[in-house]
């Protein structure tokens, strides 16, 4: 009987090892020129997920999800904050992974990974060899694009975010990061020195340059939409003269509990578009001071991009931050919905190429 028990034991051991050692594998591949079309960066699930990039062809309506991982076999990393095109390359700023993934814009094959950041936010190409990256370590990181290394930092105020280059000057919006700031750091990109720190209104979140060379900044104000709290402040749209770096026009937008965000401009650079009051509003730069006009209505809007070649507004519905969101395309003139493109989780940045 002892023999029988040990035989039974051996059979069971072998059986368990066989049953528990099955595996499955699969693979996918694709062949597309990604530099022609629309690239959408999706932040990804907040805590432990990875950001993704969706690609859309407006002519054929073809949509491809998660193209970075499909091409390179690895995920981008936690929270894809933003994305920009520069010199035929895509720079994907992965915030919580403290890195920038660089890929060829046509093939999307990874060409480099730039590290050395703390909490990178936005990328701005300065020249063929240099770029600036805002970093919530309260600096702008200077990146050498030949070696793909961080070569230095420029101090800013709290929570540097979006940037705009006007001539040799770079305007850095300090929105406060995890708190609230109200300043703009002006950097001379020739020598990487801070020229001036401008005091503006609470939480500057959008910046564009108009046809006259004036710089417009959306200051959203302190507070969150739908969650009124003591100490909330109004938002303001301001205009700067880049030559003198002074504010030459100020107008109120919303009130203490209704905050406008983002700011883009049309191809003629005379019409401002921004997110406000559960929709998109516009304002002609020539009629500053007039009431902004509602273009379209939609809840949960997140991204905002203007396609100047086709006069189309691209925006995104981030849904509930846990399921895949949508990119919505509207006619800029009448605000009619053209179509909806399925994207990834929290579509946050849309780059249109032609």
């Amino acid at each position: 009987m002892t023999m029988k028990v040990s035989t039974l034991f051996s059979i069971l051991v072998v059986l368990m090892m066989v049953v528990f050692s099955c595996k499955k594998e699969d693979s996918t591949s694709g062949n597309t020129d990604y530099s022609k079309g629309v690239m959408i960066s999706n932040e990804g699930p907040y805590l432990s997920g990875s950001g993704t990039v969706t690609w859309f062809n407006p002519d054929t309506k073809e949509v491809k999800q998660d193209i970075f991982e499909t091409v390179n076999g690895k995920p981008l990393g936690n929270i894809l904050q933003s994305m920009d095109l520069h010199n035929g390359k895509v720079y994907m700023v992965v915030n919580n992974a403290a890195k920038i993934e660089v890929a060829d814009a046509s093939t999307f094959k990874s060409t480099a990974t730039i590290t050395g950041f703390s909490l990178p936010r936005y990328f701005l190409g300065i020249s063929d060899t240099k770029a600036y990256v805002t970093d919530w370590a309260n600096v702008v990181d200077i990146v050498n694009l030949e070696g793909n290394t961080v070569t230095g930092t420029i101090p800013t105020q709290t929570g540097p975010d979006l940037m705009l280059k006007s001539g040799k000057f770079v305007f850095v919006l300090n929105d406060g990061g995890f708190s609230v700031d109200s300043t703009i750091t002006v950097i001379n990109s020739d020598n990487d020195q801070v020229v001036k720190t401008l005091n503006v209104y609470n939480r500057p979140t959008g910046i564009v340059e108009d046809a006259a060379g004036k710089v417009w900044v959306m200051c959203s104000g302190k507070g969150y939409n739908d969650f009124p709290a003591d100490g909330d402040t109004k938002g303001y749209l301001i205009r700067l003269d880049p030559a003198t770096q002074t504010i030459d026009l100020t107008m109120e937008i919303g009130d203490e509990h209704n905050h406008a965000e983002k700011l883009v401009i049309n191809s003629e650079k005379n019409m401002l578009y921004f997110l406000f009051n559960r929709g998109v509003y516009r304002l002609n730069t020539a009629f500053a001071g007039a009431e902004p006009e509602r273009v379209l209505s939609h809840d949960r809007l997140n991204a905002l991009t203007y396609d100047g070649a086709n006069n189309i507004i691209y925006t995104s519905d981030r849904m509930d931050f846990q399921q895949a969101g949508w990119v919505l395309r509207y006619q800029a003139s009448g605000g009619a919905l053209i179509d909806s493109i399925p994207a990834g989780i929290v579509p946050g940045c849309i780059v249109v190429t032609h």
Binding site: N78, M319, I345, V346
Partner: protein
């Protein structure tokens, strides 16, 4: 105020009743467990599971997270080795189950859950698992199931000293000591555990290269003392003190480059219990005070958060038996939580009180037993539904037993759900569910057979309403709302075969569960979830344990297989299935005074690359060595 008065009145009435009824108590001594009376009653109809004691001792140097994950069919959601580990029963959420220590709920009121990775298995000698809802007995949050951790007393037991140490190949070391003794009057035990873990195991990165985990160090110290004293032949006083300190770095996930997260948890848990026992009656008053805190920092984003919780729980319970086949119990419970949490912007308090009663009847001579439980919570903040449950079980044939159970259950919102600023929602309704289950136990008559077999099959259904989900209002503000309806249903099966032949023992336990758990009701925003499987709930799960011992040698093979798990609520992405196999072998050296056990374990024998939670690395093949030395003053051998 009015409700408080009623609570006091009932408590006083119950105490008075006990004083009268115990004047004629019989001088019979019964074993007293450090446990609520209602938990000592049988629970007919319920699917329960207890951990095999020999397997338990092979895992006694582990955390409760590893023990439950390896040895039970309950799913443990683990955020990497040493990371947050929580229970998930029958496709429910992690805050829809309870972990109880001697009958007191360990779930923290701010989170609605407790971290199993910070509970040393070494402290406990009684671990039971009950599947299914039991809010009618245990209160809020017990929708999926509960884990009961207990400390038995040591009355009339000899002095026993145990020293145990272990080392794991990724530089994790632990040491544990326990002393216990008892006389006819006194029972005493003291246990200490300490661990220093580097967790610097190699893992395969997403680029398929091997890396060593960094910023994952963890250290812990724990102490648990129990002291019981028999005041006389009927009355026993029991005190327990449990202190736990954990300081751990939280490593980067696979999609992060680095981490500067650190978490320090401190807990002091004390309890005092007075029990009066007679042949037909028992009366018990018990109280517990928990002081718990957590300090979390994240150097990357300059985040520094602290929370402190003070929880006081007290209950009185009376049980009486009639004619040897009927017993009733009734009681009252009150729990107060004081929270000082950075994001509440001030101190908050939550009070919970409830009345409960049970009736147990054994239908002779058929052998069926039935139990009815009722519970009504008295809460100023919510309307909590009246919660009944009814369970029955008994033989259909000589070898086949039928189990049936129906219960109504609820979960009140956590304090974070109510008070977090910004986003907390004070207007939330409690979650509620109706649970139904039916099962059969088939056990062929043993007679003189070599193999003793038990097969169990349970089908269940849980219809949940008002499930609380945090929804975004803006990109920065999330707020909880009663948005979801979830239907969890499924099958649980297990086969246990035991062979005992002279000094050879073989135990095989194989279990499989099928757990569809899907979102039901939906609005415009959540229509993508309709009919989709809940995240991290595998549809199929199986595990097997084979324990063998021959003379002084013993071994254990433990295997678990988890099916595909979705990581997005729209089911667009999933983690692949995985299998983990562990092998333990050891030898005992027994003398008249001592027992020495040497044990060697190969963890993840197949070197499986897997993620229990997406992008959290898990160790590949690794090795553990354990040495346990026990001295008995009066060994019985």
């Amino acid at each position: 105020m009015k409700k408080g008065f009623i609570v006091c009145l009932l408590f006083w009435a119950l105490t008075g009743l006990a004083q009268h009824t115990f004047t004629d108590s019989l001088h019979l001594l019964k074993p007293v467990e450090i446990q609520a009376l209602r938990l000592n009653l049988p629970a007919p109809g319920a699917h329960t599971e207890s951990i095999d004691s020999a397997m338990f001792w092979m895992h006694s140097n582990s955390s409760m997270a590893k023990l439950i994950s390896d040895l039970s069919t309950v799913m443990v959601r683990s955020y990497g080795t040493g990371g947050l580990s929580t229970l998930s029963f029958r496709g429910t959420q992690t805050n829809q189950s309870g972990i109880f220590w001697n009958g007191f709920n360990l779930n923290q009121a701010n989170l609605g859950m407790a971290d199993l990775s910070e509970i040393p298995a070494f402290f406990f000698n009684d671990v039971n698992i009950q599947f299914g809802g039991s809010s009618s007995v245990l209160g809020s949050g017990i929708i999926g199931g509960s884990l009961q951790l207990g400390n038995q007393d040591f009355f009339s037991k000899p002095l026993t000293l145990t020293l145990s140490s272990s080392a794991i190949s990724f530089h994790n070391y632990s040491l544990a000591f326990k002393a216990s003794a008892g006389s006819s009057k006194w029972s005493f035990s003291t246990s200490f555990t300490g661990n220093s873990d580097r967790n610097d195991f190699k893992y395969r990165s997403l680029e398929d290269s091997y890396k060593r985990l960094s910023h994952a160090m963890s250290s812990g110290l724990g102490m648990l003392n129990t002291l019981s004293y028999r005041l006389n032949s009927a009355q026993t006083l029991t005190m327990a003190v449990w202190a736990q300190h954990t300081d751990k770095q939280i490593p980067a996930t696979l999609v992060m480059n680095s981490s500067k997260q650190r978490q320090v948890d401190k807990a002091l848990r004390t309890s005092l219990q007075w029990t009066r026992v007679s042949a037909v009656q028992q009366f018990q008053v018990r109280t517990a005070w928990f002081s718990e805190s957590q300090h979390y920092t994240n150097g990357l984003i300059s985040l520094d958060n602290t929370y402190r919780l003070g929880t006081w729980c007290t209950e009185g319970e009376y049980k009486r038996q009639f004619q040897h086949n009927t017993s009733i119990s009734a009681g009252i419970t009150y729990r107060m939580v004081k929270a000082d949490i950075t994001d509440y912007h001030g101190k908050r308090q939550q009070d919970e009180a409830a009345l409960f009663a049970s009736l147990l009847h054994i239908w002779k001579p058929e052998g069926w037993s039935s139990r009815l439980n009722v519970r009504q919570d008295l809460d100023n903040s919510y309307h909590i539904p009246f919660c009944p449950s009814f369970g029955t079980e008994g033989p259909l044939t000589g070898n086949l037993k039928l189990r049936l159970l129906i219960s109504r259950n609820y979960r009140i919102p956590t304090m974070n759900d109510r008070f977090w600023l910004p986003g907390g929602n004070p207007d939330l309704l409690p979650e509620s569910s109706w649970n139904e289950e039916a099962g059969i136990d088939w056990q062929p008559a043993q007679n003189d057979r070599l193999v003793n077999v038990l097969f169990r099959l349970t089908a269940y259904s849980i219809q949940m309403k008002n499930m609380i989900l945090w929804e975004p209002f803006t990109s920065d503000i999330w707020s909880p709302v009663n948005i979801q309806e979830v239907w969890s249903r499924g099958l649980e099966s297990s086969l246990q075969a035991k062979i005992d032949k002279s000094d050879m023992h073989l135990l095989l336990i194989v279990a499989y569960s099928y757990s569809p758990s899907t979102y039901q009701g939906s609005n415009q925003l959540t229509k993508a979830y309709e009919g989709k499987q809940l995240i991290y709930v595998p549809l199929n799960k199986a595990n097997a344990n084979l324990r063998a011992s021959a003379g002084k040698y013993f071994g254990l093979i433990n295997g678990s297989w988890s099916g595909k798990r979705y990581v997005q609520q729209d089911n667009e992405k999933a983690l692949p299935s995985y299998t983990v196999l562990n092998l333990t072998v050891g030898r005992e050296f027994i003398s008249s005074l001592s027992n020495t056990r040497l044990q060697f374990e190969i963890q993840n024998l197949l070197n499986t690359k897997f993620q229990a939670v997406q992008y959290y690395p898990e160790p590949g093949i690794s090795f553990m060595f354990n040495l346990t030395f026990t001295i008995h003053k009066n060994p019985k051998k």
